[in-house]
Symmetry: C2
Subunit: 214 residues, 2 copies
Amino acid sequence: MPLEIPDVVIDRLPVYARALAALERSGREVVSSQELGTQLGVTPAQIRKDLSYFGRFGKQGRGYNVRRLMEELHQILGLDRKWTMVVVGVGQLGRAVLSYGGFAPQGFRIIEAFDADPAVIGQKVDDLIVKPVEQIRESLAGRPVDIGIVATPAAAAQKVIDALVECGVRAILNYAPIAAHVPAHVRVKDIDPVLSLQSMTFYLKNGAPPAGTA
Amino acid sequence: MPLEIPDVVIDRLPVYARALAALERSGREVVSSQELGTQLGVTPAQIRKDLSYFGRFGKQGRGYNVRRLMEELHQILGLDRKWTMVVVGVGQLGRAVLSYGGFAPQGFRIIEAFDADPAVIGQKVDDLIVKPVEQIRESLAGRPVDIGIVATPAAAAQKVIDALVECGVRAILNYAPIAAHVPAHVRVKDIDPVLSLQSMTFYLKNGAPPAGTA
DNA sequence: GTATGTGAACCACTTCACAGCA
DNA sequence: TGCTGTGAAGTGGTTCACATAC
Protein backbone atom coordinates (compact mmCIF):
# COMPACT_ATOMS: atom_id res chain seq x y z
CA MET A 1 0.00 0.00 0.00
CA PRO A 2 2.64 2.59 0.82
CA LEU A 3 4.12 2.55 -2.68
CA GLU A 4 6.11 5.59 -3.72
CA ILE A 5 5.31 8.04 -1.02
CA PRO A 6 8.11 10.61 -0.78
CA ASP A 7 10.04 10.68 2.48
CA VAL A 8 9.35 14.39 2.89
CA VAL A 9 5.67 13.64 3.01
CA ILE A 10 6.16 11.14 5.79
CA ASP A 11 8.25 13.68 7.66
CA ARG A 12 5.41 16.18 7.59
CA LEU A 13 2.67 13.87 8.81
CA PRO A 14 3.76 13.93 12.46
CA VAL A 15 3.73 17.71 12.30
CA TYR A 16 0.15 17.65 11.12
CA ALA A 17 -0.76 15.10 13.74
CA ARG A 18 0.67 17.24 16.49
CA ALA A 19 -1.18 20.35 15.33
CA LEU A 20 -4.40 18.39 15.16
CA ALA A 21 -3.87 17.10 18.68
CA ALA A 22 -3.50 20.68 19.89
CA LEU A 23 -6.64 21.72 18.01
CA GLU A 24 -8.54 18.85 19.50
CA ARG A 25 -7.45 19.75 23.02
CA SER A 26 -8.72 23.25 22.37
CA GLY A 27 -12.11 21.83 21.45
CA ARG A 28 -11.92 22.43 17.73
CA GLU A 29 -13.96 20.03 15.61
CA VAL A 30 -13.17 21.04 12.05
CA VAL A 31 -10.17 22.59 10.21
CA SER A 32 -9.50 23.57 6.65
CA SER A 33 -6.18 22.92 4.95
CA GLN A 34 -5.97 26.68 4.71
CA GLU A 35 -6.05 27.23 8.44
CA LEU A 36 -3.82 24.30 9.29
CA GLY A 37 -1.42 25.57 6.70
CA THR A 38 -1.04 29.09 8.03
CA GLN A 39 -0.63 27.68 11.51
CA LEU A 40 2.20 25.43 10.40
CA GLY A 41 3.78 27.52 7.69
CA VAL A 42 2.86 25.09 4.94
CA THR A 43 0.73 25.74 1.86
CA PRO A 44 -2.80 24.36 1.92
CA ALA A 45 -2.18 22.57 -1.36
CA GLN A 46 0.77 20.82 0.21
CA ILE A 47 -1.34 19.50 3.03
CA ARG A 48 -4.12 18.31 0.75
CA LYS A 49 -1.65 16.64 -1.59
CA ASP A 50 0.16 14.94 1.28
CA LEU A 51 -3.07 13.56 2.67
CA SER A 52 -4.23 12.44 -0.74
CA TYR A 53 -1.51 9.78 -0.75
CA PHE A 54 -3.43 7.98 1.94
CA GLY A 55 -7.09 8.60 1.28
CA ARG A 56 -9.85 11.17 1.31
CA PHE A 57 -10.31 12.48 4.78
CA GLY A 58 -12.02 15.81 4.17
CA LYS A 59 -15.44 17.05 3.23
CA GLN A 60 -15.74 19.53 0.41
CA GLY A 61 -16.96 22.90 1.48
CA ARG A 62 -16.23 22.09 5.11
CA GLY A 63 -12.72 20.87 5.81
CA TYR A 64 -11.41 18.05 7.96
CA ASN A 65 -12.83 16.60 11.11
CA VAL A 66 -10.04 17.23 13.58
CA ARG A 67 -10.33 14.10 15.65
CA ARG A 68 -10.93 11.84 12.70
CA LEU A 69 -7.95 13.13 10.74
CA MET A 70 -5.73 12.93 13.78
CA GLU A 71 -6.67 9.34 14.34
CA GLU A 72 -6.11 8.48 10.71
CA LEU A 73 -2.63 9.96 10.85
CA HIS A 74 -1.86 8.12 14.05
CA GLN A 75 -2.91 4.93 12.43
CA ILE A 76 -0.88 5.61 9.28
CA LEU A 77 2.25 6.47 11.25
CA GLY A 78 1.85 3.69 13.77
CA LEU A 79 1.39 6.11 16.62
CA ASP A 80 -1.55 4.11 17.86
CA ARG A 81 0.79 1.61 19.42
CA LYS A 82 3.81 1.48 21.72
CA TRP A 83 7.41 1.28 20.57
CA THR A 84 10.43 0.08 22.47
CA MET A 85 13.84 1.71 22.43
CA VAL A 86 17.30 1.18 23.88
CA VAL A 87 19.86 3.86 24.60
CA VAL A 88 23.54 3.25 24.00
CA GLY A 89 25.90 5.74 25.62
CA VAL A 90 25.06 7.05 29.06
CA GLY A 91 27.19 10.16 29.23
CA GLN A 92 25.72 13.60 29.65
CA LEU A 93 23.76 13.31 26.46
CA GLY A 94 22.54 9.78 27.11
CA ARG A 95 21.39 10.78 30.58
CA ALA A 96 19.47 13.69 29.18
CA VAL A 97 17.81 11.36 26.70
CA LEU A 98 17.01 8.82 29.41
CA SER A 99 15.40 11.37 31.66
CA TYR A 100 13.66 13.29 28.90
CA GLY A 101 9.97 13.25 29.63
CA GLY A 102 8.82 13.74 26.06
CA PHE A 103 9.11 10.20 24.75
CA ALA A 104 6.89 8.17 27.03
CA PRO A 105 3.69 10.19 26.54
CA GLN A 106 4.00 9.56 22.81
CA GLY A 107 4.35 5.82 23.29
CA PHE A 108 8.13 5.54 23.06
CA ARG A 109 9.56 3.60 25.96
CA ILE A 110 13.22 3.07 26.75
CA ILE A 111 13.71 -0.45 28.06
CA GLU A 112 17.46 -0.74 28.29
CA ALA A 113 20.60 1.39 28.57
CA PHE A 114 24.19 0.46 27.69
CA ASP A 115 27.57 2.05 28.18
CA ALA A 116 31.24 1.13 27.77
CA ASP A 117 32.54 2.90 30.86
CA PRO A 118 32.98 0.55 33.87
CA ALA A 119 32.30 3.51 36.14
CA VAL A 120 28.89 3.96 34.58
CA ILE A 121 27.93 0.32 34.17
CA GLY A 122 25.73 -0.83 37.00
CA GLN A 123 24.54 2.67 37.80
CA LYS A 124 20.85 3.24 38.01
CA VAL A 125 19.71 5.96 35.65
CA ASP A 126 16.06 6.80 35.41
CA ASP A 127 15.01 3.39 36.73
CA LEU A 128 17.30 1.44 34.44
CA ILE A 129 20.50 -0.34 35.39
CA VAL A 130 23.17 0.50 32.84
CA LYS A 131 24.56 -2.61 31.18
CA PRO A 132 27.89 -3.07 29.40
CA VAL A 133 27.88 -2.50 25.64
CA GLU A 134 29.29 -5.95 25.06
CA GLN A 135 25.99 -7.30 26.27
CA ILE A 136 23.89 -5.57 23.63
CA ARG A 137 23.62 -8.71 21.54
CA GLU A 138 22.80 -11.16 24.30
CA SER A 139 20.57 -8.68 26.06
CA LEU A 140 18.43 -8.06 23.01
CA ALA A 141 18.52 -11.58 21.68
CA GLY A 142 14.98 -12.63 20.97
CA ARG A 143 13.59 -9.44 22.46
CA PRO A 144 11.71 -7.13 20.16
CA VAL A 145 13.42 -3.75 20.18
CA ASP A 146 12.17 -1.28 17.64
CA ILE A 147 14.48 1.70 17.87
CA GLY A 148 18.07 2.27 18.93
CA ILE A 149 19.20 5.60 20.30
CA VAL A 150 22.92 6.21 19.85
CA ALA A 151 24.46 8.73 22.21
CA THR A 152 28.07 7.56 22.23
CA PRO A 153 31.18 9.47 21.21
CA ALA A 154 31.80 9.56 17.47
CA ALA A 155 34.53 6.95 17.61
CA ALA A 156 32.28 4.30 19.13
CA ALA A 157 29.10 5.00 17.21
CA GLN A 158 29.47 2.92 14.07
CA LYS A 159 30.25 -0.28 15.97
CA VAL A 160 27.30 0.29 18.23
CA ILE A 161 25.08 0.84 15.23
CA ASP A 162 26.34 -2.37 13.65
CA ALA A 163 25.50 -4.27 16.81
CA LEU A 164 22.03 -2.78 17.00
CA VAL A 165 21.35 -3.59 13.37
CA GLU A 166 22.48 -7.15 13.97
CA CYS A 167 19.95 -7.37 16.74
CA GLY A 168 17.22 -6.50 14.30
CA VAL A 169 16.79 -2.82 15.09
CA ARG A 170 15.39 -1.11 12.01
CA ALA A 171 15.34 2.50 13.15
CA ILE A 172 18.11 4.52 14.71
CA LEU A 173 18.03 7.92 16.31
CA ASN A 174 21.62 9.03 16.04
CA TYR A 175 23.02 11.74 18.28
CA ALA A 176 26.62 10.93 17.39
CA PRO A 177 28.36 13.25 14.93
CA ILE A 178 29.00 10.66 12.26
CA ALA A 179 27.42 9.59 8.99
CA ALA A 180 26.09 6.19 9.94
CA HIS A 181 26.48 3.30 7.52
CA VAL A 182 23.51 0.99 7.62
CA PRO A 183 21.85 -1.53 5.32
CA ALA A 184 19.00 -0.24 3.16
CA HIS A 185 16.24 -1.60 5.34
CA VAL A 186 17.37 0.46 8.33
CA ARG A 187 16.26 4.06 8.86
CA VAL A 188 18.50 6.64 10.50
CA LYS A 189 17.58 10.08 11.73
CA ASP A 190 20.38 12.32 12.91
CA ILE A 191 20.04 14.82 15.69
CA ASP A 192 22.93 17.19 15.46
CA PRO A 193 22.56 20.67 16.89
CA VAL A 194 26.10 21.64 15.96
CA LEU A 195 25.45 21.02 12.28
CA SER A 196 22.29 23.11 12.55
CA LEU A 197 24.22 25.96 14.09
CA GLN A 198 26.99 25.68 11.55
CA SER A 199 24.65 26.08 8.63
CA MET A 200 22.81 29.01 10.17
CA THR A 201 26.04 30.92 10.61
CA PHE A 202 26.35 31.04 6.86
CA TYR A 203 23.26 33.21 6.72
CA LEU A 204 24.28 35.23 9.74
CA LYS A 205 27.53 35.99 8.05
CA ASN A 206 25.95 36.86 4.72
CA GLY A 207 23.15 39.19 5.77
CA ALA A 208 19.54 38.55 4.81
CA PRO A 209 18.78 35.13 3.39
CA PRO A 210 17.36 34.69 -0.10
CA ALA A 211 13.82 34.22 1.14
CA GLY A 212 11.15 36.86 0.52
CA THR A 213 10.83 40.19 2.27
CA ALA A 214 13.67 41.83 4.07
CA MET B 1 28.14 36.84 -3.74
CA PRO B 2 25.99 34.07 -2.27
CA LEU B 3 23.21 34.50 -4.83
CA GLU B 4 20.84 31.58 -5.26
CA ILE B 5 22.60 28.89 -3.38
CA PRO B 6 20.05 26.25 -2.33
CA ASP B 7 19.57 25.79 1.40
CA VAL B 8 20.27 22.07 1.10
CA VAL B 9 23.72 22.88 -0.18
CA ILE B 10 24.43 25.06 2.84
CA ASP B 11 23.20 22.27 5.08
CA ARG B 12 25.72 19.86 3.60
CA LEU B 13 28.78 22.07 3.89
CA PRO B 14 29.22 21.59 7.64
CA VAL B 15 29.11 17.86 7.08
CA TYR B 16 31.93 18.13 4.57
CA ALA B 17 33.86 20.42 6.90
CA ARG B 18 33.58 17.95 9.73
CA ALA B 19 34.75 15.02 7.61
CA LEU B 20 37.69 17.06 6.39
CA ALA B 21 38.63 17.95 9.95
CA ALA B 22 38.68 14.25 10.80
CA LEU B 23 40.80 13.48 7.73
CA GLU B 24 43.20 16.23 8.66
CA ARG B 25 43.58 14.91 12.19
CA SER B 26 44.42 11.54 10.72
CA GLY B 27 47.18 13.13 8.69
CA ARG B 28 45.52 12.93 5.31
CA GLU B 29 46.58 15.59 2.82
CA VAL B 30 44.42 14.94 -0.23
CA VAL B 31 40.93 13.55 -0.86
CA SER B 32 38.85 12.96 -3.94
CA SER B 33 35.15 13.73 -4.10
CA GLN B 34 34.78 10.01 -4.66
CA GLU B 35 36.33 9.06 -1.36
CA LEU B 36 34.69 11.82 0.63
CA GLY B 37 31.41 10.77 -0.93
CA THR B 38 31.52 7.13 0.06
CA GLN B 39 32.57 8.14 3.54
CA LEU B 40 29.57 10.44 3.91
CA GLY B 41 27.00 8.62 1.84
CA VAL B 42 26.80 11.37 -0.77
CA THR B 43 27.50 11.11 -4.50
CA PRO B 44 30.81 12.53 -5.70
CA ALA B 45 28.96 14.67 -8.25
CA GLN B 46 26.93 16.18 -5.45
CA ILE B 47 30.02 17.22 -3.58
CA ARG B 48 31.66 18.72 -6.64
CA LYS B 49 28.52 20.58 -7.60
CA ASP B 50 28.05 21.91 -4.08
CA LEU B 51 31.59 23.19 -3.94
CA SER B 52 31.34 24.70 -7.40
CA TYR B 53 28.92 27.30 -6.02
CA PHE B 54 31.80 28.82 -4.15
CA GLY B 55 34.85 28.34 -6.30
CA ARG B 56 37.34 25.85 -7.64
CA PHE B 57 39.11 24.21 -4.81
CA GLY B 58 40.35 21.00 -6.39
CA LYS B 59 43.08 19.94 -8.77
CA GLN B 60 42.18 17.76 -11.71
CA GLY B 61 43.66 14.33 -11.56
CA ARG B 62 44.45 14.75 -7.90
CA GLY B 63 41.55 15.81 -5.73
CA TYR B 64 41.25 18.34 -2.94
CA ASN B 65 43.85 19.48 -0.46
CA VAL B 66 42.26 18.51 2.83
CA ARG B 67 43.42 21.42 4.93
CA ARG B 68 42.87 23.99 2.24
CA LEU B 69 39.30 22.85 1.52
CA MET B 70 38.47 22.67 5.20
CA GLU B 71 39.64 26.20 5.72
CA GLU B 72 37.71 27.43 2.73
CA LEU B 73 34.55 25.86 4.08
CA HIS B 74 35.13 27.32 7.51
CA GLN B 75 35.53 30.71 5.96
CA ILE B 76 32.41 30.32 3.82
CA LEU B 77 30.31 29.18 6.76
CA GLY B 78 31.73 31.68 9.20
CA LEU B 79 33.23 28.95 11.36
CA ASP B 80 36.46 30.88 11.54
CA ARG B 81 34.99 33.12 14.18
CA LYS B 82 33.13 32.94 17.48
CA TRP B 83 29.37 33.18 17.87
CA THR B 84 27.37 34.10 20.93
CA MET B 85 24.19 32.40 22.06
CA VAL B 86 21.59 32.70 24.79
CA VAL B 87 19.45 29.90 26.16
CA VAL B 88 15.85 30.47 27.14
CA GLY B 89 14.28 27.79 29.27
CA VAL B 90 16.36 26.11 31.93
CA GLY B 91 14.40 22.97 32.60
CA GLN B 92 15.85 19.53 32.01
CA LEU B 93 16.39 20.20 28.37
CA GLY B 94 17.85 23.66 28.88
CA ARG B 95 20.25 22.33 31.46
CA ALA B 96 21.41 19.64 29.11
CA VAL B 97 22.00 22.26 26.46
CA LEU B 98 23.87 24.51 28.88
CA SER B 99 26.18 21.78 30.03
CA TYR B 100 26.64 20.20 26.62
CA GLY B 101 30.33 20.24 25.84
CA GLY B 102 29.97 20.18 22.06
CA PHE B 103 29.25 23.83 21.37
CA ALA B 104 32.26 25.66 22.80
CA PRO B 105 34.95 23.76 20.86
CA GLN B 106 33.20 24.80 17.67
CA GLY B 107 33.15 28.44 18.63
CA PHE B 108 29.60 28.65 19.96
CA ARG B 109 29.47 30.24 23.39
CA ILE B 110 26.42 30.60 25.60
CA ILE B 111 26.57 33.94 27.37
CA GLU B 112 23.22 34.12 29.11
CA ALA B 113 20.40 31.90 30.36
CA PHE B 114 16.78 32.85 31.06
CA ASP B 115 13.81 31.13 32.66
CA ALA B 116 10.32 31.99 33.83
CA ASP B 117 10.29 29.87 36.98
CA PRO B 118 11.12 31.84 40.16
CA ALA B 119 12.58 28.67 41.63
CA VAL B 120 15.10 28.49 38.81
CA ILE B 121 15.89 32.19 38.46
CA GLY B 122 19.06 33.06 40.31
CA GLN B 123 20.37 29.52 40.18
CA LYS B 124 23.85 29.01 38.87
CA VAL B 125 23.90 26.59 35.96
CA ASP B 126 27.14 25.86 34.21
CA ASP B 127 28.71 29.14 35.38
CA LEU B 128 25.75 31.28 34.40
CA ILE B 129 23.22 32.87 36.73
CA VAL B 130 19.74 32.25 35.35
CA LYS B 131 17.88 35.51 34.73
CA PRO B 132 14.12 36.07 34.47
CA VAL B 133 12.63 35.90 30.97
CA GLU B 134 11.20 39.37 31.37
CA GLN B 135 14.74 40.65 31.32
CA ILE B 136 15.59 39.29 27.90
CA ARG B 137 15.09 42.64 26.21
CA GLU B 138 16.99 44.79 28.69
CA SER B 139 19.67 42.17 29.14
CA LEU B 140 20.42 41.94 25.45
CA ALA B 141 19.91 45.60 24.65
CA GLY B 142 22.91 46.79 22.74
CA ARG B 143 24.67 43.49 23.18
CA PRO B 144 25.44 41.49 20.11
CA VAL B 145 23.81 38.10 20.43
CA ASP B 146 23.88 35.93 17.36
CA ILE B 147 21.79 32.90 18.15
CA GLY B 148 18.90 32.14 20.47
CA ILE B 149 18.32 28.65 21.80
CA VAL B 150 14.72 28.02 22.77
CA ALA B 151 14.18 25.21 25.27
CA THR B 152 10.90 26.29 26.83
CA PRO B 153 7.59 24.43 26.92
CA ALA B 154 5.55 24.74 23.74
CA ALA B 155 3.15 27.26 25.22
CA ALA B 156 5.88 29.78 26.00
CA ALA B 157 8.02 29.36 22.93
CA GLN B 158 6.49 31.78 20.44
CA LYS B 159 6.60 34.72 22.83
CA VAL B 160 10.19 33.97 23.67
CA ILE B 161 11.03 33.81 20.00
CA ASP B 162 9.32 37.14 19.41
CA ALA B 163 11.39 38.70 22.16
CA LEU B 164 14.62 37.28 20.80
CA VAL B 165 13.84 38.50 17.32
CA GLU B 166 13.10 41.94 18.69
CA CYS B 167 16.53 41.92 20.25
CA GLY B 168 18.08 41.38 16.86
CA VAL B 169 18.68 37.65 17.02
CA ARG B 170 18.72 36.32 13.47
CA ALA B 171 19.13 32.61 14.09
CA ILE B 172 17.16 30.37 16.38
CA LEU B 173 17.78 26.82 17.44
CA ASN B 174 14.35 25.66 18.48
CA TYR B 175 13.89 22.68 20.78
CA ALA B 176 10.25 23.52 21.49
CA PRO B 177 7.63 21.43 19.67
CA ILE B 178 6.04 24.29 17.76
CA ALA B 179 6.22 25.73 14.26
CA ALA B 180 7.90 29.05 14.99
CA HIS B 181 6.65 32.17 13.24
CA VAL B 182 9.48 34.53 12.42
CA PRO B 183 10.16 37.32 9.94
CA ALA B 184 11.89 36.35 6.71
CA HIS B 185 15.32 37.52 7.77
CA VAL B 186 15.41 35.11 10.72
CA ARG B 187 16.54 31.50 10.37
CA VAL B 188 15.08 28.72 12.46
CA LYS B 189 16.34 25.18 12.86
CA ASP B 190 14.19 22.76 14.78
CA ILE B 191 15.54 19.98 16.91
CA ASP B 192 12.73 17.59 17.59
CA PRO B 193 13.56 13.97 18.35
CA VAL B 194 9.92 13.04 18.80
CA LEU B 195 9.07 14.07 15.25
CA SER B 196 12.04 12.04 14.04
CA LEU B 197 10.80 8.99 15.88
CA GLN B 198 7.26 9.49 14.70
CA SER B 199 8.24 9.48 11.06
CA MET B 200 10.49 6.43 11.42
CA THR B 201 7.65 4.41 12.89
CA PHE B 202 5.87 4.69 9.56
CA TYR B 203 8.61 2.62 7.99
CA LEU B 204 8.83 0.26 10.93
CA LYS B 205 5.17 -0.37 10.57
CA ASN B 206 5.29 -0.84 6.83
CA GLY B 207 8.23 -3.19 6.39
CA ALA B 208 11.21 -2.36 4.20
CA PRO B 209 11.47 1.23 2.98
CA PRO B 210 11.45 2.11 -0.72
CA ALA B 211 15.21 2.52 -0.91
CA GLY B 212 17.40 0.09 -2.85
CA THR B 213 18.40 -3.40 -1.80
CA ALA B 214 16.58 -5.33 0.85
C1' DG C 1 45.68 8.10 -16.37
C1' DT C 2 42.85 10.35 -13.10
C1' DA C 3 39.71 13.48 -10.94
C1' DT C 4 37.70 18.15 -11.24
C1' DG C 5 34.11 21.50 -12.82
C1' DT C 6 29.86 22.13 -15.26
C1' DG C 7 26.13 22.55 -18.83
C1' DA C 8 22.45 19.57 -20.02
C1' DA C 9 19.23 15.90 -18.96
C1' DC C 10 16.70 14.07 -15.52
C1' DC C 11 13.86 13.42 -11.64
C1' DA C 12 11.06 14.65 -7.57
C1' DC C 13 8.51 17.54 -5.13
C1' DT C 14 5.59 21.68 -5.02
C1' DT C 15 2.15 24.66 -6.64
C1' DC C 16 -1.58 25.69 -9.70
C1' DA C 17 -6.06 25.65 -11.01
C1' DC C 18 -10.22 23.66 -11.53
C1' DA C 19 -13.75 19.93 -11.49
C1' DG C 20 -16.58 17.89 -8.04
C1' DC C 21 -19.18 17.72 -4.05
C1' DA C 22 -21.43 19.26 0.42
C1' DT D 1 -20.61 29.30 -1.85
C1' DG D 2 -16.64 26.98 0.12
C1' DC D 3 -13.15 23.72 0.38
C1' DT D 4 -11.45 19.23 -0.98
C1' DG D 5 -8.95 16.14 -4.18
C1' DT D 6 -6.03 15.86 -8.14
C1' DG D 7 -4.13 15.91 -12.96
C1' DA D 8 -1.16 19.09 -15.15
C1' DA D 9 2.32 22.57 -15.06
C1' DG D 10 6.14 24.44 -12.90
C1' DT D 11 10.32 24.60 -10.02
C1' DG D 12 14.39 23.26 -7.90
C1' DG D 13 17.78 19.97 -6.90
C1' DT D 14 20.40 15.85 -8.40
C1' DT D 15 22.85 13.09 -11.56
C1' DC D 16 25.10 12.45 -15.96
C1' DA D 17 28.71 12.71 -18.92
C1' DC D 18 32.33 14.90 -20.86
C1' DA D 19 35.63 18.61 -21.86
C1' DT D 20 39.47 20.24 -19.24
C1' DA D 21 43.49 20.19 -16.62
C1' DC D 22 47.11 18.14 -13.92
